[in-house]
């Protein structure tokens, strides 16, 4: 029988004790005395969210393939257990061995969204590791960050010893080898961090110094030592068939957010939407071969027994082997009734045909992401989706029996006018009207078509053409949301239209953190000490804590959010080389302001700089 770090009494008094006991199918158990390196891999959110994340499954598998390393998992304890652990001084533990995290060599934390920052502090704090990297001593666990938010790690730089910039498959082996070697040689913790900081893709914040201009912008960002590189280059795998992909992913007992097998068909995106950070930082697009994917699909389904598999990527319709993979899955797994889920599909004849085969038509709704209501606005954001595409897709869908359509939009995009805002409701109205044109009354079976539009607030992100752009103020966001809501009510088909928008308190903080610098670490720590936790959960998020903390730390929020940056401003994240050049992003911003579109990577190379990685779509024969 396995031990648990928590007593039965505690496990029986918290919500979902299954979050804390481990022992899932395909969990890796090793003898801790037989390994050299113990790595605790953390997703700083609740178990159900963290277990749904592919990146951790990949690294977990890759690390555990090393005989000298045992990688285990850690998630944020939910608020009920958090309280008990503080009261009873129980240290945070890893799921597999149930041993305290502070006994581990590494604590790796993936940063998937900015609003997890207080949970990052919770994990470090509950582990009993000093919050500030500068306070850590010999023998303290090395804290390393990764994931997309690490592309601007500065707001949390004070809490990390190292960051890994880019795809984990590339340099982690070298990092672990270096650690093992230096420890054997009796080298110190700080000597290791210094050496690690010289590895490609590894950023050690303590080895760099920032100075600021009087108006608050970054003046300089320099390494403190001659042997430390001035820029950190994003790490990226060119041949995705050559890197490891888990054949035995973990199978949780409880229902998690993504309760299915994930087949990552490709990385990167050809579509250069100007608001999208993922589209830039994962460039260039690289596909996996259908042979590789079939092998992995078979292994994963056999080893997990899950009833659903998702073909994942930023834009799965752009995967050239899509049809072949879907046919393979239908052919081989119909006897096990495996569902195939296809997120991020473009709606066209092919995808509708596929969906009607693999999904329950009656239940589902179709989702489009026009992101903006007017064509001008869509040109600004370079969303290559025309009214024609939307109308054609909708009419095919209505003919195919769907009667629910979801439309995703953003408010607060650069250059947006009130007319652009109102165009959102007009577009939704046109889609509803199309239903009445296409589906004769006798075929409607008393069901009303429902077009649901939801709007989120646009947040400018680093490494996008909009990194210079001002973000709307909270007041402006709300004004636009209300304006739009009223316009929805005036539409002819308003009974078939639903409109919803997300509260914007979080957007403001996300905007602050996204383009923040090192000085924000004090604010994050203050908010955490004032009780902020699980900020991405609307029922946990407490705006007043942040307001108070912002005041205590004297942070000028507008400086980070609503201020338009100057062309030559040095950004806190400019020391990272993500492949796409800054001057390319700037030219894209200028084209955006003129509502000019840029063709996608398969139509025409725009010379963004990602070709420097030497592979992917940049070297495909152009059609």
């Amino acid at each position: 029988m396995r031990k648990t770090a928590l007593s039965d009494e505690i496990l029986l008094s918290v919500e979902k004790p299954e979050r804390y006991i481990g022992n899932e199918i395909n969990a890796v158990i090793k003898d801790k005395n037989e390994v050299d390196i113990r790595f605790a891999m953390c997703f700083p959110d609740v178990y159900e969210i963290g277990m749904s994340h592919l990146g951790i499954q990949i690294l977990y598998d890759m690390f555990n393939k090393r005989p000298d390393t045992w990688c285990e998992r850690v998630y944020s304890p939910w608020t009920d257990l958090d309280k008990i652990m503080r009261e009873k001084k129980i240290p945070l533990f890893a799921l597999e061995s149930q041993d305290p995290v502070k006994d581990f060599d590494f604590l790796g934390i993936t940063l998937q969204y900015e609003m997890c920052f207080t949970n990052v502090l919770q994990v470090i704090d509950l582990s009993g590791i000093p919050l500030h990297a500068s306070d850590r001593k010999e023998g303290d666990t090395i804290v390393i960050g990764g994931g997309p938010v690490s592309f601007n790690p500065e707001p949390v730089a004070a809490f990390f010893d190292l960051f890994y910039i880019g795809e984990g498959e590339m340099v982690y082996d070298s990092l672990l080898d270096l650690y093992k070697k230096m420890r054997k040689e009796g080298k110190s913790r700080s000597e290791f961090i210094h050496e690690a900081g010289k590895l490609p893709g590894i950023y050690a914040p303590s080895l760099y110094e920032v100075s600021y201009n009087e108006e608050g912008t970054v003046k300089s960002f320099k390494p403190l030592f001659d042997d430390v590189p001035a820029t950190v280059k994003k790490q990226l795998c060119i041949d995705l068939d050559k890197v490891t992909y888990p054949e035995k992913p973990l199978v949780p007992f409880i229902r998690v957010t993504q309760d299915r097998a994930v087949l990552e068909v490709m990385r990167g995106c050809i579509r250069g939407c100007r608001f999208c950070q993922a589209g830039q930082i994962y460039k260039p697009l690289r596909e996996r071969s259908t042979g590789f994917l079939k092998d992995r699909a078979r292994a994963i389904l056999d080893s997990t027994g899950v009833d659903e598999i998702t073909l994942s990527s930023l834009s799965t319709s752009d995967y050239t082997g899509l049809k072949e993979i879907i046919e393979f899955l239908i052919e081989n797994y119909s006897d096990k009734y495996i569902n195939i889920s296809l997120p991020s599909l473009r709606i066209d004849a092919f995808s509708l045909d596929v969906m009607s085969k693999v999904q329950d038509v009656k239940k589902g709704s179709l989702t489009f992401a026009p992101e903006a209501g007017s064509q001008r606005m869509r040109n600004v954001i370079n969303k290559g989706l025309s009214v024609d595409d939307i109308m054609k897709g909708s009419s095919l869908a209505f003919e195919g029996g769907w009667n629910k359509v979801k439309l995703y939009f953003m408010l607060g995009l650069p250059t947006e006018t009130d007319d652009d805002v109102r165009a959102i409701a007009d577009l939704a109205n046109d889609v509803a009207a199309l239903y009445f044109d296409i589906v004769p009354k006798e075929d409607r079976k008393g069901i009303r078509v429902m077009v649901t539009s939801s709007a989120s607030f646009f947040i400018p992100k680093p490494f996008t053409p909009f990194q210079w752009a001002p973000m709307n103020s909270s007041e402006e966001f709300l004004r636009k949301a209300h304006l739009l809501n009223e316009h929805f009510r005036d539409e002819l088909n308003h009974k078939s239209l639903k409109f919803q928008y997300h509260e914007n308190d979080l957007s403001l903080l996300e905007g602050l953190m996204a383009r923040g610098d090192r000085r924000l670490s004090k604010l994050i720590e203050t908010a955490y000490n004032n009780g902020a936790l699980y900020d991405s959960w609307s029922d946990c998020f407490d705006r007043s804590i942040w307001d108070r903390s912002i005041e205590e730390c004297n942070v000028d929020v507008d400086f980070y959010t609503t201020r338009e940056r100057k062309t030559d401003e040095l950004f806190p994240w400019d020391f990272i080389d993500c492949g796409v050049r800054k001057d390319f992003l700037r030219s894209e911003y200028e084209k955006a302001l003129k509502a000019e579109v840029t063709p996608n990577c398969r139509e025409k190379c725009s010379g963004c700089g990602a070709a420097s990685f030497g592979g992917g779509v940049c070297f495909e024969a152009k059609g």
Binding site: M1, E9, L11, D302, G305, K363
Partner: protein, 236 residues
């Protein structure tokens, strides 16, 4: 054909709730390539039905579910020999989690009732970590009483019952261990904690607040003959 699978659940697996155990076994069936019968319709599901749910925090040596199979051959291999009860058990345990173990599989006769409908009783062993009540004399007192009237909450109301009618056996084997046989099933179902609370109440001692004061193990589920649910079927 319909099989009845008996399994045990120990250690930390006692924290896995009933619905999650069901989902867990659906995945076990697919991992083991079992030729399970699926329901018709838009969202087909395995024809699997569980007996009496077990509360979170209880261990068990006697959990059951019935499952319908198209054949005893592994999926996709028509030339393989039929599974026997023993080889099927092995196959399922190869793909099982630590501390959940299939212990017995039987073939049910045509027209056998569903596992849940067959349940009439349950045996439990309770180990008490609380010393405030003398279990030996408390059990004697209960056994000697003519009636033990208590109020039992049902879904709709609270009604008075005579607990003696539903406690078939009660026996303290030493000062910290009790064995009990209780009425169970979809009609009246008596939880071991209800009997424990009653024992404390009868002796004027307050029931311990700790949720972990008792380690409760379900030993088996019983049919109307007070025989193990497995006895409804036969070895194959």
């Amino acid at each position: 054909m319909k099989l009845r699978v008996k399994f045990s659940k120990h250690g930390a697996m006692k924290f896995i709730g009933h619905l999650d155990v069901m989902r867990y076994f659906q995945k076990v069936m697919r991992r083991a390539d079992i030729d399970v019968t699926y329901s018709e319709g838009f969202s087909p599901h395995q024809k699997m039905s569980f007996a009496q749910p077990l509360g979170v925090g209880l261990t068990s040596d006697g959990e059951y579910f019935d499952i319908e199979l198209n054949s005893l051959k592994p999926l996709g291999d028509k030339t393989a020999p039929d599974f026997t009860a023993e080889t099927l058990k092995q196959k399922l345990n190869e793909v099982s989690a630590i501390d959940i173990l299939v212990t017995d599989i039987v073939l049910l006769p045509e027209g056998a009732g569903k596992a849940m409908a067959e349940v009439c009783g349950a045996d439990y062993t309770v180990r008490s970590l609380d010393t405030s009540l003398d279990l030996i004399s408390a059990c004697e007192r209960f056994n000697k009483a003519d009636t033990v009237k208590i109020e039992k909450e049902t879904k709709k109301s609270v009604k008075e019952i005579d607990l003696k009618d539903f406690v078939y056996k009660l026996d303290a084997t030493d000062k910290s261990t009790i064995k009990m046989r209780l009425c169970a099933g979809s009609g009246t179902n008596i939880k071991p904690t209800l009997l424990l609370k009653t024992l404390y109440e009868m002796n004027g001692i307050s029931y311990p607040e700790e949720r972990s004061a008792f380690e409760i193990n379900r030993v088996d589920l019983l049919n109307k003959y007070m025989k193990s649910l497995s006895s409804d079927g036969k070895i194959f």
